[in-house]
Amino acid sequence: MPIEVKKLTHVYMPGTPFESRALNAVSLSIQDGEFVGIIGHTGSGKSTLITHLNGLEKSEPGVVFVNGMDLGEKGADLIAIRRVVGLVFQYPEYQLFEETVAKDVAFGPTNLGLDADEIKRRVEHALKQVGLDPAEVSEKSPFELSGGQKRRVAIAGVLAMQPGILILDEPAAGLDPMGRREMFDLIRGIHDSGTTVVMVSHSMDDVGRLCDRLFVLNRGEIAYTGTPAEVFVHDNRLHAIGLDVPECAKLARRLREAGFDMPEGIYRTEDVCAAIIGNLSGGK
Protein backbone atom coordinates (compact mmCIF):
# COMPACT_ATOMS: atom_id res chain seq x y z
CA MET A 1 0.00 0.00 0.00
CA PRO A 2 1.68 3.26 -1.04
CA ILE A 3 0.12 5.70 1.42
CA GLU A 4 -1.32 4.97 4.82
CA VAL A 5 -2.09 7.65 7.40
CA LYS A 6 -3.27 6.65 10.86
CA LYS A 7 -4.74 9.29 13.16
CA LEU A 8 -2.50 12.15 12.11
CA THR A 9 -2.76 15.28 14.23
CA HIS A 10 -0.83 18.46 13.55
CA VAL A 11 -0.77 21.55 15.75
CA TYR A 12 0.91 24.75 14.54
CA MET A 13 2.72 26.95 17.07
CA PRO A 14 1.72 24.86 20.10
CA GLY A 15 1.72 26.74 23.40
CA THR A 16 1.47 30.19 21.77
CA PRO A 17 -1.56 32.49 21.38
CA PHE A 18 -1.58 31.48 17.67
CA GLU A 19 -1.84 27.76 18.42
CA SER A 20 -4.01 26.09 15.83
CA ARG A 21 -4.91 22.50 15.19
CA ALA A 22 -4.51 22.02 11.44
CA LEU A 23 -5.19 18.27 11.42
CA ASN A 24 -7.14 16.25 13.93
CA ALA A 25 -6.78 12.44 13.91
CA VAL A 26 -6.92 12.14 10.11
CA SER A 27 -6.77 8.58 8.78
CA LEU A 28 -6.69 7.61 5.13
CA SER A 29 -5.14 5.18 2.73
CA ILE A 30 -4.40 5.56 -0.96
CA GLN A 31 -3.80 2.56 -3.22
CA ASP A 32 -1.32 2.17 -6.04
CA GLY A 33 -2.50 3.73 -9.26
CA GLU A 34 -5.38 5.72 -7.79
CA PHE A 35 -6.26 9.29 -8.77
CA VAL A 36 -7.36 10.89 -5.53
CA GLY A 37 -8.64 14.41 -4.86
CA ILE A 38 -8.23 16.23 -1.58
CA ILE A 39 -10.66 19.08 -1.33
CA GLY A 40 -11.45 21.68 1.30
CA HIS A 41 -11.46 25.43 1.69
CA THR A 42 -8.48 27.47 2.88
CA GLY A 43 -7.44 26.45 6.37
CA SER A 44 -9.07 23.03 6.16
CA GLY A 45 -5.70 21.30 6.52
CA LYS A 46 -5.11 20.18 2.92
CA SER A 47 -1.66 21.65 2.55
CA THR A 48 -0.53 20.47 5.99
CA LEU A 49 -1.67 16.96 5.12
CA ILE A 50 0.32 16.74 1.89
CA THR A 51 3.51 18.08 3.46
CA HIS A 52 3.31 15.09 5.81
CA LEU A 53 3.13 12.72 2.87
CA ASN A 54 6.67 13.40 1.73
CA GLY A 55 8.22 14.07 5.08
CA LEU A 56 8.43 17.88 4.94
CA GLU A 57 6.49 17.88 8.19
CA LYS A 58 7.38 15.15 10.59
CA SER A 59 4.84 13.15 12.56
CA GLU A 60 5.16 10.72 15.46
CA PRO A 61 6.33 7.18 14.62
CA GLY A 62 3.60 4.81 13.44
CA VAL A 63 1.40 7.48 11.84
CA VAL A 64 2.42 8.11 8.21
CA PHE A 65 3.60 5.27 5.97
CA VAL A 66 4.67 5.44 2.33
CA ASN A 67 5.42 2.14 0.61
CA GLY A 68 5.83 0.60 4.05
CA MET A 69 8.37 3.22 5.20
CA ASP A 70 7.46 4.90 8.49
CA LEU A 71 8.05 8.63 7.88
CA GLY A 72 7.96 9.47 11.58
CA GLU A 73 10.61 6.98 12.56
CA LYS A 74 13.89 8.33 13.85
CA GLY A 75 16.42 8.16 11.04
CA ALA A 76 13.76 7.69 8.34
CA ASP A 77 15.41 7.89 4.93
CA LEU A 78 13.95 11.15 3.68
CA ILE A 79 15.81 10.99 0.38
CA ALA A 80 14.26 7.61 -0.36
CA ILE A 81 10.84 9.00 0.55
CA ARG A 82 11.19 12.01 -1.72
CA ARG A 83 12.23 9.77 -4.59
CA VAL A 84 8.93 8.00 -4.17
CA VAL A 85 6.69 11.00 -3.48
CA GLY A 86 6.96 14.04 -5.75
CA LEU A 87 5.35 17.18 -4.42
CA VAL A 88 4.33 20.05 -6.72
CA PHE A 89 3.49 23.14 -4.70
CA GLN A 90 1.01 25.87 -5.60
CA TYR A 91 2.44 28.23 -8.21
CA PRO A 92 5.52 26.02 -8.62
CA GLU A 93 6.85 28.35 -11.33
CA TYR A 94 8.04 30.66 -8.55
CA GLN A 95 10.57 27.98 -7.64
CA LEU A 96 12.38 28.03 -10.97
CA PHE A 97 15.86 29.42 -10.52
CA GLU A 98 18.35 27.99 -13.01
CA GLU A 99 19.83 29.63 -16.13
CA THR A 100 18.28 27.17 -18.52
CA VAL A 101 15.22 24.95 -18.56
CA ALA A 102 17.38 21.82 -18.86
CA LYS A 103 19.46 22.77 -15.82
CA ASP A 104 16.37 23.50 -13.78
CA VAL A 105 14.74 20.18 -14.57
CA ALA A 106 18.08 18.41 -13.95
CA PHE A 107 18.45 19.86 -10.46
CA GLY A 108 16.72 16.98 -8.64
CA PRO A 109 18.29 14.09 -10.56
CA THR A 110 21.73 15.75 -10.24
CA ASN A 111 21.33 15.79 -6.48
CA LEU A 112 20.51 12.10 -6.60
CA GLY A 113 24.04 11.61 -7.94
CA LEU A 114 22.94 10.06 -11.24
CA ASP A 115 25.37 9.97 -14.16
CA ALA A 116 25.23 12.58 -16.90
CA ASP A 117 23.61 10.36 -19.53
CA GLU A 118 20.85 9.25 -17.21
CA ILE A 119 20.19 12.86 -16.17
CA LYS A 120 19.97 13.94 -19.80
CA ARG A 121 17.60 11.09 -20.59
CA ARG A 122 15.38 11.93 -17.63
CA VAL A 123 15.27 15.64 -18.43
CA GLU A 124 14.17 14.95 -21.99
CA HIS A 125 11.59 12.42 -20.92
CA ALA A 126 10.17 14.74 -18.23
CA LEU A 127 9.90 17.67 -20.65
CA LYS A 128 8.07 15.47 -23.15
CA GLN A 129 5.74 14.28 -20.40
CA VAL A 130 4.63 17.87 -19.78
CA GLY A 131 4.16 18.52 -23.47
CA LEU A 132 7.28 20.60 -24.13
CA ASP A 133 9.76 19.96 -26.92
CA PRO A 134 13.20 19.41 -25.34
CA ALA A 135 15.00 20.61 -28.48
CA GLU A 136 13.07 23.85 -28.41
CA VAL A 137 13.07 24.79 -24.73
CA SER A 138 16.10 23.09 -23.12
CA GLU A 139 18.56 25.93 -23.61
CA LYS A 140 16.08 28.76 -23.00
CA SER A 141 15.95 30.66 -19.76
CA PRO A 142 12.86 29.50 -17.84
CA PHE A 143 12.01 33.17 -17.39
CA GLU A 144 11.53 33.67 -21.14
CA LEU A 145 8.61 31.26 -21.13
CA SER A 146 4.92 32.01 -20.69
CA GLY A 147 3.29 31.43 -17.30
CA GLY A 148 1.75 28.12 -18.33
CA GLN A 149 5.03 26.86 -19.82
CA LYS A 150 6.95 27.84 -16.68
CA ARG A 151 4.55 25.79 -14.61
CA ARG A 152 5.12 22.82 -16.92
CA VAL A 153 8.87 23.15 -16.49
CA ALA A 154 8.45 23.17 -12.71
CA ILE A 155 6.35 20.01 -12.88
CA ALA A 156 8.92 18.41 -15.19
CA GLY A 157 11.51 19.05 -12.48
CA VAL A 158 9.49 16.90 -10.11
CA LEU A 159 8.76 14.22 -12.74
CA ALA A 160 12.48 13.93 -13.49
CA MET A 161 12.80 12.34 -10.03
CA GLN A 162 10.48 9.62 -11.42
CA PRO A 163 8.24 9.48 -8.38
CA GLY A 164 5.70 6.67 -8.10
CA ILE A 165 3.34 9.08 -6.35
CA LEU A 166 2.75 12.61 -7.57
CA ILE A 167 1.06 15.16 -5.31
CA LEU A 168 -0.08 18.45 -6.85
CA ASP A 169 -1.37 21.42 -4.86
CA GLU A 170 -3.84 23.43 -6.98
CA PRO A 171 -2.03 22.75 -10.25
CA ALA A 172 -4.42 24.85 -12.34
CA ALA A 173 -4.63 27.91 -10.08
CA GLY A 174 -4.40 31.16 -12.04
CA LEU A 175 -4.43 29.51 -15.49
CA ASP A 176 -6.95 30.51 -18.14
CA PRO A 177 -9.64 27.99 -19.18
CA MET A 178 -7.59 26.55 -22.04
CA GLY A 179 -4.53 26.36 -19.79
CA ARG A 180 -6.60 24.54 -17.18
CA ARG A 181 -7.83 22.00 -19.71
CA GLU A 182 -4.30 21.39 -20.97
CA MET A 183 -2.97 21.04 -17.42
CA PHE A 184 -5.64 18.49 -16.52
CA ASP A 185 -5.02 16.52 -19.74
CA LEU A 186 -1.36 16.43 -18.86
CA ILE A 187 -2.03 15.19 -15.31
CA ARG A 188 -4.44 12.59 -16.63
CA GLY A 189 -1.69 11.41 -18.99
CA ILE A 190 0.78 11.08 -16.10
CA HIS A 191 -1.79 9.06 -14.18
CA ASP A 192 -2.52 6.85 -17.19
CA SER A 193 1.16 6.00 -17.46
CA GLY A 194 0.96 4.36 -14.03
CA THR A 195 1.67 7.12 -11.51
CA THR A 196 -0.47 7.45 -8.40
CA VAL A 197 -1.82 11.01 -8.35
CA VAL A 198 -3.06 13.05 -5.40
CA MET A 199 -4.53 16.41 -6.42
CA VAL A 200 -5.39 19.14 -3.96
CA SER A 201 -8.08 21.54 -5.08
CA HIS A 202 -10.94 23.69 -3.98
CA SER A 203 -12.84 23.20 -7.18
CA MET A 204 -15.44 20.45 -7.04
CA ASP A 205 -15.83 20.73 -10.81
CA ASP A 206 -12.20 19.82 -11.37
CA VAL A 207 -11.91 16.97 -8.89
CA GLY A 208 -15.29 15.63 -9.98
CA ARG A 209 -14.14 15.41 -13.57
CA LEU A 210 -10.75 13.83 -12.85
CA CYS A 211 -10.59 11.85 -9.62
CA ASP A 212 -11.66 8.33 -8.75
CA ARG A 213 -12.02 9.10 -5.09
CA LEU A 214 -12.28 12.23 -2.95
CA PHE A 215 -11.41 13.21 0.58
CA VAL A 216 -13.26 16.30 1.76
CA LEU A 217 -11.42 18.04 4.57
CA ASN A 218 -13.09 20.45 6.95
CA ARG A 219 -11.40 22.00 9.98
CA GLY A 220 -8.66 19.41 9.96
CA GLU A 221 -10.93 16.39 9.77
CA ILE A 222 -12.18 14.24 6.93
CA ALA A 223 -15.82 15.20 6.49
CA TYR A 224 -16.62 12.94 3.54
CA THR A 225 -14.88 10.37 1.45
CA GLY A 226 -15.94 8.30 -1.55
CA THR A 227 -16.39 8.56 -5.29
CA PRO A 228 -17.41 12.02 -6.54
CA ALA A 229 -21.00 10.83 -6.91
CA GLU A 230 -21.05 9.57 -3.31
CA VAL A 231 -19.63 12.87 -2.05
CA PHE A 232 -21.89 15.15 -4.12
CA VAL A 233 -24.97 13.60 -2.51
CA HIS A 234 -24.12 15.79 0.50
CA ASP A 235 -24.53 19.00 -1.52
CA ASN A 236 -26.22 21.03 1.21
CA ARG A 237 -23.62 20.16 3.83
CA LEU A 238 -20.80 20.83 1.37
CA HIS A 239 -22.20 24.26 0.68
CA ALA A 240 -22.27 24.95 4.43
CA ILE A 241 -18.53 24.19 4.71
CA GLY A 242 -17.68 26.56 1.88
CA LEU A 243 -17.59 24.14 -1.05
CA ASP A 244 -19.85 24.07 -4.03
CA VAL A 245 -20.99 21.02 -5.96
CA PRO A 246 -20.85 21.25 -9.77
CA GLU A 247 -23.66 23.26 -11.38
CA CYS A 248 -25.10 20.17 -13.07
CA ALA A 249 -25.32 18.38 -9.71
CA LYS A 250 -27.35 21.34 -8.43
CA LEU A 251 -29.60 21.18 -11.45
CA ALA A 252 -30.10 17.42 -10.98
CA ARG A 253 -31.28 18.02 -7.41
CA ARG A 254 -33.69 20.75 -8.49
CA LEU A 255 -35.15 18.51 -11.18
CA ARG A 256 -35.43 15.54 -8.82
CA GLU A 257 -37.40 17.73 -6.42
CA ALA A 258 -39.63 18.74 -9.32
CA GLY A 259 -40.48 15.10 -10.03
CA PHE A 260 -37.84 14.18 -12.62
CA ASP A 261 -36.27 10.76 -12.28
CA MET A 262 -32.60 11.70 -11.76
CA PRO A 263 -30.08 9.23 -10.28
CA GLU A 264 -28.57 10.24 -6.89
CA GLY A 265 -25.17 11.93 -7.00
CA ILE A 266 -25.27 12.50 -10.78
CA TYR A 267 -22.99 15.41 -11.73
CA ARG A 268 -21.32 15.00 -15.15
CA THR A 269 -22.77 17.25 -17.81
CA GLU A 270 -23.11 14.32 -20.26
CA ASP A 271 -24.84 12.13 -17.64
CA VAL A 272 -27.23 14.88 -16.61
CA CYS A 273 -28.00 15.52 -20.28
CA ALA A 274 -28.76 11.83 -20.87
CA ALA A 275 -30.97 11.63 -17.77
CA ILE A 276 -32.96 14.71 -18.86
CA ILE A 277 -33.47 13.26 -22.35
CA GLY A 278 -34.67 10.04 -20.72
CA ASN A 279 -37.22 11.97 -18.69
CA LEU A 280 -38.47 14.06 -21.57
CA SER A 281 -38.94 11.17 -24.00
CA GLY A 282 -40.32 8.85 -21.30
CA GLY A 283 -43.04 11.32 -20.35
CA LYS A 284 -44.54 11.46 -23.80
Binding site: D176, M178, G179, S203, K250, L251, L255, G259, T269, C273
Partner: protein
Amino acid sequence: MKNTIIEARDVCFKYEGASTLAVDHVTLDVAEGEFLAILGRNGSGKSTFAKLLNALQLPTGGSVKVNGITPANEDDCYEVRKSCGMVFQNPDNQIVTTIVEEDCAFGLENLGTPPQEIRSRVDEALHSVGMSEFAQASPSMLSGGQKQRVAVAGVLAMRPRIIVFDESTAMLDPIGRRDVFALARRLNVEEGITIVWITHFMEEAAMADRLVVMDGGRIALEGEPRSVFAQTDRVLKLGLDVPEIMKLAHMLRERGVALPDDIMTVNEMAVALCQLK
Protein backbone atom coordinates in the same frame (compact mmCIF):
# COMPACT_ATOMS: atom_id res chain seq x y z
CA MET B 1 -28.20 58.20 -21.33
CA LYS B 2 -25.44 57.88 -18.78
CA ASN B 3 -22.13 59.71 -19.04
CA THR B 4 -19.23 57.94 -20.63
CA ILE B 5 -16.48 57.68 -18.03
CA ILE B 6 -13.92 55.75 -20.06
CA GLU B 7 -13.40 56.48 -23.74
CA ALA B 8 -10.85 54.32 -25.51
CA ARG B 9 -10.32 55.29 -29.16
CA ASP B 10 -8.24 53.10 -31.46
CA VAL B 11 -5.94 52.33 -28.58
CA CYS B 12 -2.72 50.49 -29.36
CA PHE B 13 0.07 49.39 -27.11
CA LYS B 14 3.33 47.76 -28.08
CA TYR B 15 5.88 46.56 -25.55
CA GLU B 16 9.44 47.57 -26.23
CA GLY B 17 11.12 45.05 -28.50
CA ALA B 18 7.86 43.23 -29.23
CA SER B 19 6.94 42.50 -32.82
CA THR B 20 3.17 42.57 -32.32
CA LEU B 21 0.76 44.92 -30.61
CA ALA B 22 -0.34 43.80 -27.13
CA VAL B 23 -3.42 46.01 -27.54
CA ASP B 24 -4.47 46.37 -31.15
CA HIS B 25 -6.83 49.24 -32.10
CA VAL B 26 -9.33 48.86 -29.30
CA THR B 27 -12.28 51.21 -29.22
CA LEU B 28 -14.49 50.91 -26.17
CA ASP B 29 -16.75 53.15 -24.10
CA VAL B 30 -17.60 52.44 -20.50
CA ALA B 31 -20.62 54.21 -19.03
CA GLU B 32 -20.51 55.71 -15.56
CA GLY B 33 -21.89 53.17 -13.08
CA GLU B 34 -21.44 50.22 -15.39
CA PHE B 35 -20.08 46.82 -14.30
CA LEU B 36 -18.01 45.66 -17.25
CA ALA B 37 -16.26 42.29 -17.35
CA ILE B 38 -13.30 41.54 -19.62
CA LEU B 39 -12.46 37.94 -20.45
CA GLY B 40 -9.64 36.56 -22.52
CA ARG B 41 -6.84 34.03 -22.57
CA ASN B 42 -3.48 34.69 -20.99
CA GLY B 43 -1.69 37.03 -23.37
CA SER B 44 -4.90 38.33 -24.95
CA GLY B 45 -4.03 41.88 -23.91
CA LYS B 46 -6.58 42.35 -21.17
CA SER B 47 -4.10 43.19 -18.40
CA THR B 48 -2.24 45.58 -20.68
CA PHE B 49 -5.53 47.24 -21.50
CA ALA B 50 -6.24 47.53 -17.76
CA LYS B 51 -2.92 49.30 -17.23
CA LEU B 52 -3.84 51.81 -19.93
CA LEU B 53 -6.99 52.68 -17.98
CA ASN B 54 -5.15 54.05 -15.00
CA ALA B 55 -2.13 55.41 -16.83
CA LEU B 56 0.31 52.78 -15.58
CA GLN B 57 1.07 52.53 -19.28
CA LEU B 58 0.39 55.19 -21.87
CA PRO B 59 -0.91 54.12 -25.27
CA THR B 60 1.55 53.95 -28.15
CA GLY B 61 -1.34 54.77 -30.47
CA GLY B 62 -4.87 56.14 -30.11
CA SER B 63 -6.15 57.66 -26.89
CA VAL B 64 -7.70 56.76 -23.56
CA LYS B 65 -9.83 59.37 -21.82
CA VAL B 66 -10.65 58.57 -18.21
CA ASN B 67 -13.05 60.74 -16.24
CA GLY B 68 -12.48 63.58 -18.68
CA ILE B 69 -8.67 63.41 -18.70
CA THR B 70 -6.49 62.20 -21.54
CA PRO B 71 -3.12 61.86 -19.80
CA ALA B 72 -0.34 63.66 -21.63
CA ASN B 73 2.18 64.21 -18.84
CA GLU B 74 3.02 62.90 -15.38
CA ASP B 75 0.64 65.24 -13.53
CA ASP B 76 -2.26 64.01 -15.63
CA CYS B 77 -1.27 60.43 -14.79
CA TYR B 78 -1.64 61.18 -11.08
CA GLU B 79 -5.06 62.70 -11.70
CA VAL B 80 -6.14 59.62 -13.66
CA ARG B 81 -4.91 57.31 -10.91
CA LYS B 82 -6.90 59.26 -8.33
CA SER B 83 -10.11 58.67 -10.23
CA CYS B 84 -9.30 55.15 -11.40
CA GLY B 85 -8.01 52.73 -8.76
CA MET B 86 -6.63 49.31 -9.46
CA VAL B 87 -6.65 46.01 -7.56
CA PHE B 88 -4.16 43.41 -8.79
CA GLN B 89 -4.03 39.64 -8.80
CA ASN B 90 -1.63 38.78 -6.03
CA PRO B 91 -2.70 40.17 -2.65
CA ASP B 92 0.84 39.82 -1.34
CA ASN B 93 2.26 42.09 -4.02
CA GLN B 94 0.14 45.11 -3.18
CA ILE B 95 0.34 45.28 0.58
CA VAL B 96 3.30 47.39 1.61
CA THR B 97 3.06 47.95 5.37
CA THR B 98 2.85 45.75 8.45
CA ILE B 99 -0.44 47.11 9.80
CA VAL B 100 -3.72 47.01 7.88
CA GLU B 101 -4.79 50.62 8.43
CA GLU B 102 -1.36 51.98 7.57
CA ASP B 103 -1.58 50.12 4.31
CA CYS B 104 -4.90 51.77 3.52
CA ALA B 105 -3.43 55.18 4.36
CA PHE B 106 -0.41 54.72 2.09
CA GLY B 107 -1.87 56.36 -1.01
CA LEU B 108 -3.35 59.29 0.88
CA GLU B 109 -0.11 59.94 2.75
CA ASN B 110 1.72 60.12 -0.54
CA LEU B 111 -0.76 62.72 -1.75
CA GLY B 112 -0.10 64.80 1.36
CA THR B 113 -3.66 64.53 2.66
CA PRO B 114 -4.12 66.10 6.17
CA PRO B 115 -3.94 63.49 8.98
CA GLN B 116 -7.52 63.97 10.23
CA GLU B 117 -8.81 63.52 6.71
CA ILE B 118 -6.71 60.37 6.31
CA ARG B 119 -8.09 59.00 9.58
CA SER B 120 -11.70 59.46 8.56
CA ARG B 121 -11.25 58.19 5.01
CA VAL B 122 -9.35 55.07 6.14
CA ASP B 123 -11.95 54.28 8.79
CA GLU B 124 -14.71 54.71 6.26
CA ALA B 125 -12.93 52.56 3.66
CA LEU B 126 -12.19 49.71 6.09
CA HIS B 127 -15.77 49.83 7.27
CA SER B 128 -17.00 49.66 3.71
CA VAL B 129 -15.06 46.46 2.97
CA GLY B 130 -15.97 44.91 6.33
CA MET B 131 -12.44 44.94 7.72
CA SER B 132 -12.75 47.51 10.55
CA GLU B 133 -12.03 44.97 13.25
CA PHE B 134 -8.73 44.14 11.55
CA ALA B 135 -7.51 47.75 11.37
CA GLN B 136 -4.64 47.07 13.78
CA ALA B 137 -3.90 43.56 12.52
CA SER B 138 -0.86 42.48 10.57
CA PRO B 139 -1.69 41.67 6.93
CA SER B 140 0.34 38.46 7.26
CA MET B 141 -2.34 37.04 9.56
CA LEU B 142 -5.13 37.59 7.02
CA SER B 143 -6.54 35.19 4.45
CA GLY B 144 -6.15 35.94 0.73
CA GLY B 145 -9.71 37.23 0.46
CA GLN B 146 -9.22 39.50 3.47
CA LYS B 147 -5.99 40.85 1.99
CA GLN B 148 -7.81 41.69 -1.24
CA ARG B 149 -10.49 43.50 0.78
CA VAL B 150 -7.72 45.53 2.43
CA ALA B 151 -6.33 46.31 -1.02
CA VAL B 152 -9.80 47.46 -2.10
CA ALA B 153 -10.01 49.64 1.03
CA GLY B 154 -6.70 51.26 0.11
CA VAL B 155 -8.15 52.10 -3.29
CA LEU B 156 -11.47 53.28 -1.82
CA ALA B 157 -9.69 55.68 0.52
CA MET B 158 -8.66 57.56 -2.61
CA ARG B 159 -12.39 57.97 -3.46
CA PRO B 160 -12.11 56.75 -7.04
CA ARG B 161 -14.93 56.85 -9.58
CA ILE B 162 -13.66 53.68 -11.26
CA ILE B 163 -12.01 50.54 -9.88
CA VAL B 164 -10.25 48.10 -12.20
CA PHE B 165 -9.91 44.58 -10.78
CA ASP B 166 -7.21 42.72 -12.70
CA GLU B 167 -7.85 39.04 -11.96
CA SER B 168 -8.21 39.94 -8.31
CA THR B 169 -9.90 36.64 -7.46
CA ALA B 170 -7.52 34.33 -9.34
CA MET B 171 -5.52 33.36 -6.28
CA LEU B 172 -8.43 33.11 -3.84
CA ASP B 173 -10.44 30.15 -2.62
CA PRO B 174 -14.16 29.94 -3.45
CA ILE B 175 -15.22 31.82 -0.31
CA GLY B 176 -12.65 34.60 -0.83
CA ARG B 177 -13.65 34.81 -4.47
CA ARG B 178 -17.35 35.15 -3.69
CA ASP B 179 -16.57 37.77 -1.02
CA VAL B 180 -14.44 40.00 -3.22
CA PHE B 181 -16.84 39.76 -6.15
CA ALA B 182 -19.80 40.59 -3.89
CA LEU B 183 -17.86 43.57 -2.55
CA ALA B 184 -17.22 44.90 -6.05
CA ARG B 185 -20.88 44.42 -6.93
CA ARG B 186 -21.99 46.26 -3.80
CA LEU B 187 -19.63 49.20 -4.43
CA ASN B 188 -21.06 49.34 -7.93
CA VAL B 189 -24.72 49.25 -6.91
CA GLU B 190 -24.62 51.25 -3.69
CA GLU B 191 -21.88 53.78 -4.37
CA GLY B 192 -22.19 54.00 -8.12
CA ILE B 193 -18.51 53.18 -8.67
CA THR B 194 -17.79 52.02 -12.21
CA ILE B 195 -16.20 48.56 -12.19
CA VAL B 196 -13.97 46.98 -14.81
CA TRP B 197 -13.67 43.34 -13.80
CA ILE B 198 -10.98 41.30 -15.55
CA THR B 199 -11.24 37.59 -14.92
CA HIS B 200 -10.78 34.00 -16.08
CA PHE B 201 -13.90 32.86 -14.28
CA MET B 202 -16.94 32.55 -16.51
CA GLU B 203 -19.31 32.51 -13.53
CA GLU B 204 -18.10 35.98 -12.57
CA ALA B 205 -18.23 37.33 -16.10
CA ALA B 206 -21.78 36.00 -16.39
CA MET B 207 -22.89 38.35 -13.60
CA ALA B 208 -21.58 41.56 -15.20
CA ASP B 209 -23.76 44.14 -16.98
CA ARG B 210 -21.68 43.82 -20.12
CA LEU B 211 -18.93 41.50 -21.29
CA VAL B 212 -15.99 42.09 -23.58
CA VAL B 213 -13.93 39.15 -24.82
CA MET B 214 -10.39 39.97 -25.91
CA ASP B 215 -8.25 37.89 -28.23
CA GLY B 216 -4.88 38.79 -29.70
CA GLY B 217 -5.15 42.36 -28.40
CA ARG B 218 -8.50 43.00 -30.06
CA ILE B 219 -12.11 42.88 -28.97
CA ALA B 220 -13.43 39.57 -30.30
CA LEU B 221 -16.91 39.58 -28.77
CA GLU B 222 -18.94 42.14 -26.90
CA GLY B 223 -22.41 42.33 -25.44
CA GLU B 224 -24.61 41.17 -22.59
CA PRO B 225 -23.02 38.11 -20.97
CA ARG B 226 -25.80 35.77 -21.92
CA SER B 227 -25.76 36.78 -25.55
CA VAL B 228 -21.96 36.44 -25.66
CA PHE B 229 -21.99 33.01 -24.00
CA ALA B 230 -24.84 31.90 -26.25
CA GLN B 231 -22.22 31.85 -29.04
CA THR B 232 -20.83 28.74 -27.36
CA ASP B 233 -18.71 27.51 -30.27
CA ARG B 234 -17.04 30.89 -30.78
CA VAL B 235 -16.28 31.26 -27.09
CA LEU B 236 -14.78 27.77 -26.85
CA LYS B 237 -12.73 28.40 -29.97
CA LEU B 238 -11.25 31.49 -28.32
CA GLY B 239 -9.83 29.19 -25.64
CA LEU B 240 -12.42 30.18 -23.08
CA ASP B 241 -15.23 28.37 -21.42
CA VAL B 242 -18.94 28.95 -21.04
CA PRO B 243 -20.93 28.37 -17.84
CA GLU B 244 -21.63 24.65 -17.41
CA ILE B 245 -25.39 25.13 -17.71
CA MET B 246 -24.94 26.77 -21.12
CA LYS B 247 -22.87 23.78 -22.23
CA LEU B 248 -25.65 21.50 -21.08
CA ALA B 249 -28.22 23.64 -22.91
CA HIS B 250 -26.10 23.34 -26.05
CA MET B 251 -25.98 19.52 -25.69
CA LEU B 252 -29.70 19.28 -25.08
CA ARG B 253 -30.50 21.45 -28.10
CA GLU B 254 -28.29 19.26 -30.26
CA ARG B 255 -30.41 16.33 -29.16
CA GLY B 256 -33.60 18.06 -30.16
CA VAL B 257 -34.77 19.64 -26.90
CA ALA B 258 -36.43 22.97 -27.68
CA LEU B 259 -34.85 25.30 -25.12
CA PRO B 260 -34.80 29.11 -25.20
CA ASP B 261 -31.51 30.57 -26.50
CA ASP B 262 -30.26 32.37 -23.47
CA ILE B 263 -30.46 29.94 -20.55
CA MET B 264 -27.54 30.54 -18.23
CA THR B 265 -28.40 29.57 -14.66
CA VAL B 266 -29.54 26.44 -12.80
CA ASN B 267 -32.77 28.16 -11.98
CA GLU B 268 -33.58 29.16 -15.58
CA MET B 269 -32.76 25.66 -16.80
CA ALA B 270 -34.93 23.98 -14.15
CA VAL B 271 -37.89 26.23 -15.00
CA ALA B 272 -37.52 25.65 -18.76
CA LEU B 273 -37.27 21.88 -18.39
CA CYS B 274 -40.26 21.66 -16.07
CA GLN B 275 -42.34 23.40 -18.73
CA LEU B 276 -41.26 20.83 -21.31
CA LYS B 277 -42.05 17.82 -19.20
